[in-house]
């Protein structure tokens, strides 16, 4: 199970990094979202993996999952959502101001459009 989680984190990181390095804003945002998944799973796994042991106090429970990483990840998920929304709207704003959706504002489509 640990190996599966590690590989998942690795694959999501790779995919996220690759997308983040693309030139169109939307793809970058998708990449960021993937990266945030990877980071969240990574953070959770810092408390080691436990199955069927939620951190809810119960006299019958033998063990609990580590609640601290969970609390961290919960905030991280919500913040990541706020930031994703902010960044994508920033991308929209850039599109409105610059007329294109390149991360560096380069309008490589202009020639093409005029040609069509």
């Amino acid at each position: 199970m640990e190996i599966l989680v590690a590989i998942s984190v690795g694959v999501m990181t790779s995919c996220g990094v690759f997308l983040v390095l693309r030139s169109s804003t939307f793809t970058v945002v998708v990449g960021l979202t993937l990266l945030s998944y990877a980071v969240n799973v990574f953070l959770l796994s810092m408390g080691r993996l436990k199955v069927g042991a939620p951190a809810i106090i119960d006299p019958a429970a033998e063990q609990y999952a580590d609640p601290l990483p969970q609390a961290l990840v919960l905030t991280a998920i919500v913040i990541a959502f706020g930031m994703t929304a902010f960044v994508i709207v920033l991308a929209l704003k850039a599109r409105g101001e610059l007329g294109n959706d390149h991360v560096d504002g380069r309008d490589f489509t202009r020639n093409k459009e005029e040609g069509s």
Partner: protein
């Protein structure tokens, strides 16, 4: 008089306050700042009078307060003989300069600014000499650099003033940085930054392996401040300052700060070979270079500047020789140099003021125009040359005597008296030039103004200083004897050696050297024309300023080139660098770790369901990348990844996370779907294969790193720090769901910060979207117009039916959050989904008409609840956000726990709803605003 215990800090701070008042008072009366400055200076003098008898009795006054104990910084001041000598010089010469400046400043100069900076400088200088704590001393040291920058650049409109000030600041601040390093090392060696301990620990310091680096760092500070070779070149350029500033800073005070430190740390650092070699060699070089160059300067202030450099070199050389008598000579020369050099600078200021130039090729025969000033200048210059019956002669004799003593050391040391005489010859020559060229030697050439005697208040300070030169020169033991004795005692930290301040020591070698110097100087001056021609031919071009400027320029060029190389105006490029460096650093971390990469914790078995989910996750992630140019499909794949991750959370005992992830996932996908409409429909051309290759390498590298790191952690045993939370969740927080209790209770502060960020994101998005204009194509890529009939009756009806139900679920999730998976975050997200569903099903207008709540108010209300909960706790005397809880018995439900944390969670709930709905609805409304038919042709694929 108050016998106060805080006279010393008061003495330092008084000019600072005075400076502020002086600067402000200028707007009421033009002469006010002068009186302010004078009063402040006099007040400091009066304040210190009660302490003086004690110092003369050999006491050391220390007034100390603990300031920042964990770095060893005390607010500590010290008054002993050495600091008293410098304090008196700073105050008395300061007073004379203030009197002098009163007339010197022209109508266009702002007296408020001048005296404000002047007193700031005086305060910092007093701080340097009165500090007991070395760190405090460094602070004042930096203040002198800054305030002298302001004073040198007083005539801001002049380019040479600005450049000179910048150069002075760059050099002295560099030295200040080195000094800080040296002081920190000293503190580490001694275990205290207080001078009392440092001065007593000379043996420890000299035996320490850090001695040499520390010494070099401190000497860098000293040499830059006191304009020693090779840092001397800033001083001549600082002559662009008004002459009173030069008289004060560049003769008596600031350049002496370095010398002061040399004297101050003499007991702690002197007495080693390194000290002897470095300090005396640099001193000798500076002495010769300054004396030689001074002769060739046609500008009067330039001559004085190089002469100052030379005399500072002489003092440094004396300290470098390291004997006790040499230290006596050095301190005596500090006093003498300050008096004659300050008066000479003032004379130059008078000449400049009354004749309009400082060029010695134009100034001739001023004797008959200003005879009084001429007499003063002749006496002061004679003192500078070391003519008998003047103070300069006495200390120069002592210097020659010590040079001879030092020459007995080795064959090499024989050079010391020879070079000392050579320096003295040039010293006589330039003094002679100063007198002869200016006051005799024919008639003035093309002067801008007809020179005449100066106003009285410009002359009186010079009178005073020249009288001191004379009196000290004739009656040394009676006048300067006592203060010299205590200053020497404080410098050496022990009883001073026997020395004689008599004028006549009989016919001896020093007297012979003096005679040689006078004769040689006269001869050199006689052949000056040939020397000038030779100098112009060969040496005129050599100027350390060019080296400095080209060094600064190449540094700037390097910085620019380096920045350009990394920052090419492309975010993509910079991101590539950042990630690449992160990957390299990460792998360097793995590589340098000594422990085995993986631990030996027992791994869990995986079941088929987990394997299938894993496979799906990998597949969906890779599809997101492969299909990234088809944005819609890529987005759906992203949604799949998110769902699988939330399933993973559920499996791995994190039900709260699963719920949160699930609801966030839905909101995110809706959000991205909405924006997709506004972004160009065509994809950018694919990147070059080189670029794809590079990015793939970075991506795979970082992915492998993340995977290895995760596995490295997961295969090791856990030492959790969360036992406290598990134990105290029920008794302390009143909730069984530990994750929720952590969020709303234990770490409530973090959560508060987090919802503020969320609120800001929502507001920021609102602000950004208010006036954005997007040129949206109204057709799809094939040229078909978008369908305008977006209302599906089924969705319409179902959404309306679901609305109360979803809210019920949200309320349920919210209420149970403290004990079971749920809570404000999740409930908020669910509730916002209910609202968003209405917008989707029934349209913006319909929903807006029925949903009368302004989301801004919701956010504000949420923050109000959250912060209010914390404030209530504070009002009851607990720390901010302390939670309390109790149990109520409700009629049907039974025992029910109610916690103040619930109010906090309600705040979270409201902020989450407000922000989420605002973000989504703003984007949705954009749709309506942009709904103007466009004639753009369809896509181009």
């Amino acid at each position: 008089m108050i016998e106060s215990n805080f006279a010393l800090p008061l003495a330092v701070l008084l000019p600072l306050v005075g400076g502020l008042i002086a600067a402000l008072s200028a707007r009421y009366k033009r002469s006010a700042p002068v009186w302010c400055a004078m009063l402040a200076t006099l007040a400091v003098l009066v304040l210190l009078i009660p302490a003086m008898p004690k110092v003369f009795a050999g006491e050391t006054l220390i007034q100390s307060w603990v300031w920042i104990p964990n770095i060893g910084l005390d607010f500590a001041f010290r008054l002993d003989g050495l600091s008293l000598l410098f304090t008196l010089m700073i105050l008395v010469i300061g007073l004379l300069v203030i009197l002098y400046t009163r007339v010197y400043l022209s109508e266009n100069d702002s007296p408020g600014r001048f005296f404000g900076c002047f007193l700031l400088f005086m305060s910092s200088m007093l701080g340097v000499v009165l500090s007991e704590n070395l760190l405090l001393l460094v602070v004042f040291w930096e203040m002198t650099s800054l305030s002298s920058f302001l004073l040198i650049s007083f005539w801001q409109y002049r380019e040479d003033a600005r450049q000179g000030a910048r150069m002075a600041l760059a050099i002295t601040a560099m030295g200040g940085l080195a000094l800080l390093g040296g002081v920190l090392l000293t503190g580490e060696m001694v275990g205290s930054y207080n001078l009392t301990e440092v001065l007593a620990a000379g043996d420890v310091i000299r035996a320490h392996p850090w001695y040499v680096p520390t010494l070099i760092l401190i000497l860098l500070g000293v040499f830059t401040k006191s304009a020693q070779f090779p840092f001397h070149f800033w001083l001549p350029h600082a002559m662009a300052a008004p002459t009173p500033v030069s008289a004060y800073l560049h003769s008596a005070t600031m350049v002496k700060a370095g010398i002061f430190l040399l004297a101050r740390l003499f007991p702690a650092f002197s007495g080693s070979h390194e000290w002897l070699w470095i300090v005396s060699t640099i001193g000798m070089l500076t002495l010769l270079l300054g004396a030689f160059t001074a002769l060739f300067k046609h500008d009067l202030k330039g001559l004085l500047a190089y002469s100052t450099i030379s005399h500072l070199g002489l003092i440094t050389l004396l300290f470098g020789l390291g004997t006790q008598l040499a230290a006596v000579a050095a301190i005596f020369h500090i006093i003498n140099h300050a008096t004659f050099k300050a008066s000479l600078f003032m004379v130059v200021g008078i000449i400049d003021h009354e004749s309009g130039t400082r060029d010695m090729r134009k100034l001739n025969g001023l004797l008959k125009h200003m005879p009084h000033v001429a007499v003063l200048a002749i006496i002061a210059a004679a003192a500078m040359a070391g003519v008998p019956l003047l103070n300069g002669f006495l200390s120069k004799e002592m210097f020659f005597d010590q040079a001879i003593v030092a020459s007995r050391g080795s064959a090499w040391a024989l050079a010391i008296p020879v070079l000392a005489t050579l320096g003295a010859i040039f010293s006589v020559a330039y003094s002679l030039r100063f007198v002869h060229d200016v006051f005799f030697n024919g008639e003035p050439v093309n002067l801008p103004r007809t020179p005449h005697e100066p106003p009285t208040s410009m002359r009186i300070p010079v009178d005073f200083l020249v009288i001191i030169c004379l009196v000290v020169g004739i009656l040394p033991a009676l006048t300067v004897g006592p203060i010299l004795a205590v200053a020497v005692e404080a410098t050496l930290q022990g009883s001073p050696p026997p020395y004689s301040l008599a004028i006549w020591h009989g016919f001896n070698v020093p007297l012979l050297m003096s005679a040689l110097a006078l004769l040689g100087g006269f001869l050199v001056y006689c052949v000056r024309r040939h020397l000038f021609a030779w100098h112009e031919k060969f040496l005129e071009k050599i100027d350390a300023r060019f080296v400095y400027n080209s060094a600064i320029e190449s540094l700037q060029r390097l910085a620019t080139a380096l920045t350009r190389w990394f920052d090419r105006g492309s975010l993509q490029h910079m991101l590539g660098w950042t990630l690449g460096v992160a990957a390299l650093l990460g792998f360097a971390g793995f590589y340098s770790a000594k422990a085995p990469l993986f631990g030996n914790r027992e791994l869990m078995k995986y079941d088929p369901v987990a394997l299938i989910a894993f496979g799906g996750l990998i597949l969906a992630s890779i599809s997101t990348v492969v299909l990234h140019r088809k944005r819609m499909i890529s987005l759906i794949m992203l949604g799949v990844v998110g769902l699988l991750v939330s399933l993973g959370f559920a499996k791995l005992s994190a039900p709260d996370l699963a719920l949160t992830q699930l609801s966030v996932e839905i909101v995110t996908v809706v959000l991205l779907m909405l924006t997709l409409f506004f972004l160009p429909q065509y994809s950018p051309p694919p990147s070059s294969s080189w670029r794809i290759g590079r990015d793939a390498v970075w991506a795979i590298g970082l992915g492998c790193g993340a995977a290895i790191l995760t596995l490295a952690v997961l295969t090791r045993d856990l030492l959790p720090i969360s036992d406290y939370f598990l134990k105290n969740s029920v008794p302390g927080g009143g909730g069984k769901n530990v994750v929720n209790v952590i969020l709303v209770d234990f770490r409530g502060y973090d959560t508060l910060g987090e919802i503020v960020v969320l609120a800001l994101a929502g507001l920021g998005i609102y602000a950004m979207l208010r006036d954005v204009r997007l040129n949206v194509s109204m057709t799809d890529l094939e040229g078909r117009p978008w369908s305008r009939e977006f209302q599906s009756p089924i969705l319409q009806n179902v959404s309306q039916l679901l609305f109360p139900l979803i809210f019920l679920i949200a309320a349920f999730i919210f209420l149970r959050g403290h004990n079971l998976p749920g809570g404000g975050f999740i409930a908020g997200l669910i509730a916002s989904l209910a609202i968003v569903l209405q917008y989707l099903g029934n349209g913006v207008e319909w929903t807006d008409a029925r949903l009368r709540i302004d989301m801004h108010h919701l956010i504000a209300g949420g923050l109000f609840f959250a912060i209010g909960t914390g404030l209530v706790a504070m009002a009851l005397g607990y720390p901010f956000l302390t939670s309390a809880f109790t149990y109520l018995n409700w009629p049907i439900v039974g025992k029910f726990e109610i916690a103040s944390a619930m109010m906090f969670d309600l705040g979270v709930f409201l902020v989450v709803i407000g922000s989420t709905v605002m973000i989504l609805v703003q984007l949705g409304k954009l749709n309506l605003l942009q709904a103007v038919p466009s004639k753009r042709p369809g896509g181009d694929n």
